[in-house]
């Protein structure tokens, strides 16, 4: 899979994918979840900048909304990408910790 270009939305995109890995959510629920789990407060412009890119890459998908709030879900493509990203991060963390203790 080619690495997508999220630009300044790289970190928010990962936070959104991780949030949606826990279940379908609309924008405000994602902001609250990310604040609670990662301690990061995403602004509305940043959130939707990342959401729009993730949707274009088909990493997330909008679900039909009953009101003006539209929920999103993680696609299988998004789950694969998130898993690959987190695995590479895990490898990087392990090497860094080894270097610190050496």
């Amino acid at each position: 899979m080619s690495t997508p270009e999220f630009g300044r939305f790289s970190d928010p995109a990962i936070l959104i994918l991780a949030s949606l890995a826990g279940g379908d959510k609309h924008g405000y629920a994602m902001m609250e979840d990310i604040q609670a789990t990662a301690g990061v407060s995403l602004g509305p412009g940043t959130l939707y900048g990342a959401l729009a890119r993730l949707e274009q890459y088909r990493f997330i998908e909008a679900l039909p909304s009953e009101d003006r709030r539209r929920p999103y879900r993680l696609t299988s493509q998004g789950a694969i990408f998130l898993r690959q990203y987190l695995t590479s991060l895990e490898h990087f963390v392990a090497i860094s910790l080894q270097r610190l203790t050496a």
Binding site: G43, L51, L63, T75, S76
Partner: protein, 322 residues
């Protein structure tokens, strides 16, 4: 113009067509400080830069695909509403004096035939239009990591529960199971409370099963990924946009619903003109008011027809998009 609306209008038109409603709703909840306003400025600037950079921006197309999918789901839900109304209509006409009357009265007979013809056309349209979509849902349910297999169990369970209840009613009717207050053979004009309860349960299981199954199908289709699918009929690859493919059958199904509704209206009017005492009497299921059932059925059909045509109107633009 409110601050929220003004901020949303900073974004490109194509972006707004896709995200404006939900973004405005989000701003209503989280626009607390000047930093949030600055954040929206940056977001809007980024969206314009994406367009200038010639990035693959397909907000419009994504929006249209979502609209088209929702259109098809609403038409499907309206069709299920018609199935419930149709069974109720058959229950109303069965064993009533309208059946022998229909054999001699040609206009009444024709309107009844038209109701059945509309039902067949609607069913075929739903089956044909929904076939590739159904195949995709099934395929993804068993191949994708996050496939929603659970939703597909709901219609199966609902059908099994209905079968089990129907078998129970048959066993009661045959006398193998004896229930207090339920008689095996109902005398004309007398319908004991126990029998009413038993049949009300059957109708409740049917309606609840239909509603739950529709809801589950809605969830399963919503979770389906990608509108372009490739099928292999007779070993040859066939690429299809499953939502575009289903639009014309959905239009035909909606037209058939309109035909059924108008035919039911005509049928009711002709029946009333020829046999007013039937409408004044209690020929509904469980000897209930004929009028109440008839107008209830009409109201449900009208509601479903309006919903289907509203959805078709909403999805027409999406279906015409390249």
């Amino acid at each position: 113009m409110s601050l929220r609306s003004w901020l949303t209008h900073l974004y490109p038109r194509a972006w707004r067509e896709r995200y404006a409603d939900e973004f405005d709703e989000l701003l209503a909840q989280c626009l607390h400080s000047p930093l949030d306003v600055i954040d929206v400025f940056w977001g809007a600037l980024d969206a314009h830069l994406q367009l200038l950079n010639g990035e693959e921006v397909n907000w419009r197309m994504m929006n249209k695909m979502n609209k088209l999918r929702t259109t098809l789901l609403i038409v499907f839900a309206a069709f299920i509403g018609f199935v419930i109304a149709g069974f109720s209509l058959v229950g109303l006409a069965d064993d009533s004096p309208m059946i022998p009357l229909m054999q001699t009265d040609l206009p009444l007979h024709l309107s009844w035939i038209l109701i059945h013809a509309g039902a067949v056309v609607a069913l075929l349209a739903i089956l044909i239009g929904g076939f590739p979509l159904g195949l995709t849902v099934l395929r993804q349910a068993f191949t994708l990591e996050r496939g929603n297999r659970g939703w597909l169990l709901v219609p199966v369970i609902a059908f099994l529960v209905l079968l089990a209840y129907f078998a129970f009613v048959l066993l009661v009717g045959s006398g193998r199971i004896v229930l207090p207050g339920v008689v095996r053979v109902v005398q004309p004009g007398v319908f004991p409370a126990g029998n009413r309860l038993l049949l009300a349960g059957l109708m409740l299981v049917f309606v609840l099963g239909a509603v739950a199954s529709t809801w589950a199908v809605w969830k399963a289709v919503s979770a389906t990924e990608g509108e372009q699918q490739t099928f292999h009929p007779a070993g040859r690859p066939l690429a299809l946009n499953i939502y575009h493919f289903a639009f014309v059958p959905a239009l035909i199904a909606s037209a058939a619903m309109l035909v059924i509704f108008v035919s039911t209206l005509v049928w009711g009017w002709l029946s009333f003109t020829a046999f007013p005492q039937v409408f004044a009497g209690n020929f509904g299921p469980w000897l209930t008011s004929t009028q109440a059932w008839y107008f209830g059925i009409l109201a449900l059909m009208l509601l479903c027809t309006l919903a289907a045509f509203y959805a078709i109107g909403r999805g027409r633009q999406a279906a015409q998009a390249e």
